[in-house]
Symmetry: C2
Subunit: 391 residues, 2 copies
């Protein structure tokens, strides 16, 4: 009896469009003559290890459409990083379930998982086509022009910043917001995508992990200068900048050795506390928000472009896996010379595994995004909302 | 020369639809034969005091449409609470500018301002028609069925909670989110409006200021019970509950004597820190977000119902002020016996001034919203997003 099953899993931090990729995989597999069974492993590769799967071979198109538009991971996710024994278990399940195609949707950690499992399969002579499909809000995957999930996160953050900037213009004060982005400033930079000028439709300034290391001294200089000029100031800071002041932050390592910077208001409160003291104005309204999971899960700010591309990424992996009998990762290619053009190509798993990229330095100059960044990111976020002001 | 000018101001914390009310006022005044000039005072009544206004008599409809859909206060806002001298200055400006209609959009503080100014005008025999139009995300105005602004805030919070609940289901852990709502639990309760069951599409539990006073002991009991059962727990807590544990929070009073509970992550971090210790599970993912200004400024989660009602409220005030030569406040009336029906009536300024209402106790039972609350709030938030899960 031939092994023609497909198993797909969602891994790492959820995004607003990781379900769109999942649905792309499922619907393409449903169409394929090469696939006779489609399983979603629950809670990412953990379900593949534990033989805990949902059979979606005959799932209805109506339900798929709803799932494709649902944020977060409909099959569950995991941050497990499989070791040798973990991978052994996955093989046992794959054999038992007659799996030929193993599709892993995830970030760089997940690409690395895919590579490990693929190497083991090769070593053992088991015919397993392992595929990785990129996903991360951080947008820090190598080789890819951008990651599925970033466009929606950027749209969410640009919208939050638009609202907060208008709020801070209406009742002038000091506002600091902290975004996700451990290593790269792409998310923080997105906060200025909808602005008409610094401070109007976005923050006056953004602080990203790239370039000159973040220091509290420089931050306070910038903030107080703007406040002196405008009697209000709004700054967006990437959580990656917190590394520079980590002594004030609780350090907590997850299974990957990443320091936990999200999920606490400590950094934002520290920044706004310092800035309030430095500005030292009477009755100064000072506020700090840490946007947290909103950035990757809001159902109301999904980018249509991102949603569509993420689904195409899912379909593409299955097309390549079944027609070419290849292993690999889906690589996102884009051309912005004239109109934005998106395409996909096949890459090797090791191309993206276990490495992250930074944002180019020329995307932010003196804490304001450049036309180069707008040219890069605007095509990914969908329609720009209109707004106007009387002041 | 007859005084036929209209001056309108936006006051208090901005909302997602306060501009819709502003536009309702302007467009109705443009149509009226009784009004020959329309001014927006900048930064709320502060602009009325300082004679700092924008003339919008001939503003184009296209621009009005964009402003109506823009969150926050396009004319600026203020939290000033006018005293005798402040009101004197407003009269001087009103006389000089030939103002007959003074429209104040705002919350209960603003209704009180309107009353003060109105009393002064009457005392001095100056013919000034003073109108208040309700606005507050907190939904705690007396007499009104609901306030303009609440529906969009509720939609925003319900969407945030939907996303966060799906996120916490995908990678199970402990999640606590803190909402606005100093005195009333309406905003926190809205976090369960889109859920299919507790913990799926909304939090497992909500904690509101009404009913039994919040205690950390009870909170931890509830949280640990749910975690034991499901190995994940998601709670939404109103900032109003922070009063019960205020000794751990920085206390800061604004001009109204309100304790500042927003704008800091302290309360959420305190809650999640305590809960993490109480659950005491290995590798527990624990996160806290404080949603802050997002709840009142997000451009992507405005309720169409709220937007429309807010605009009708603006038009209604001008109709009443000009046709009936009345002073008053716009009162929101609703009937939910069969289909939701919305209407407006005229109230006296003192009816809503300086008082707040709590949410009825029967809207939340054992930390879960009741059908009575759904019946009350669902008609206000617009379309309910579809979502689905495979786990």
């Amino acid at each position: 009896m031939k092994a023609n099953g497909l198993m797909v899993s969602q891994n790492g931090g959820p995004t607003q469009v990781i379900n769109s990729t999942l649905v792309g995989v499922i619907e393409e597999a449903q169409k394929s003559d090469h696939v006779d069974k489609i399983l979603v492993s629950k809670y990412g590769v953990r379900g593949a290890r534990d033989d805990d799967c949902v059979d979606v071979t005959k799932i209805e198109q109506d339900r798929l459409e709803i799932i494709a538009n649902t944020p977060s991971a409909a099959g569950g996710s995991t941050r497990d990083k499989p070791d040798e024994q973990y991978c052994e278990s996955i093989f046992e399940v794959a054999k038992k379930r007659r799996i030929k195609y193993l599709v892993i949707i995830g970030g760089n950690d997940s690409a690395d998982k895919a590579r490990i499992i693929n190497d083991m399969a090769n070593d053992k002579g088991y015919e397993l086509r392992v595929w990785h499909i990129p996903k991360t809000v951080d947008n820090d995957l190598l080789v890819n022009d951008h990651s599925f999930g970033y466009g929606s996160c950027a749209r969410t953050v640009a919208g939050l910043a638009l609202g907060n900037s208008l709020d801070n213009r209406a009742i002038p004060g000091l506002k600091v917001d902290v975004t996700m982005g451990r290593h790269a400033g792409y998310i923080a930079a997105a906060s200025q995508l909808f602005m008409k000028e610094p401070g109007y439709g976005g923050p006056d300034v953004v602080f990203v992990p790239e370039g000159e290391p973040f220091t509290m001294e420089h931050f306070l200089d910038v903030i107080t200068d703007i406040y002196k000029k405008n009697e209000r100031v709004y700054a967006v800071v990437s959580e990656g900048c917190a590394l520079a002041v980590k002594k004030v932050l609780s350090e907590e390592a997850d299974a990957h050795g990443n320091v936990q910077l999200s999920g606490s208001g400590t950094f934002a409160d520290y920044l706004v506390g310092g800035a309030k003291k430095a500005i030292n104005a009477k009755d100064l309204r000072a506020r700090a928000d840490t946007w947290g999971y909103t950035q990757r899960s809001n159902p109301f700010s999904i980018s249509e472009v991102d949603l569509d591309e993420a689904r195409r990424g899912g379909r593409y992996a299955v097309q390549q896996a079944t027609s070419g009998d290849l292993d690999g990762t889906v690589i996102v290619v884009a051309n912005r010379d004239l109109q934005y053009q998106f395409s996909l190509r096949v890459g090797k798993l090791e191309e993206v595994a276990e490495k992250t990229k930074s944002m180019p330095l020329e995307f932010v100059e003196k804490h304001v995004i450049t036309p180069a960044f707008r040219n890069y990111a605007l095509p990914l976020v969908g329609e720009v909302p209109e707004y106007d002001s009387l002041i």
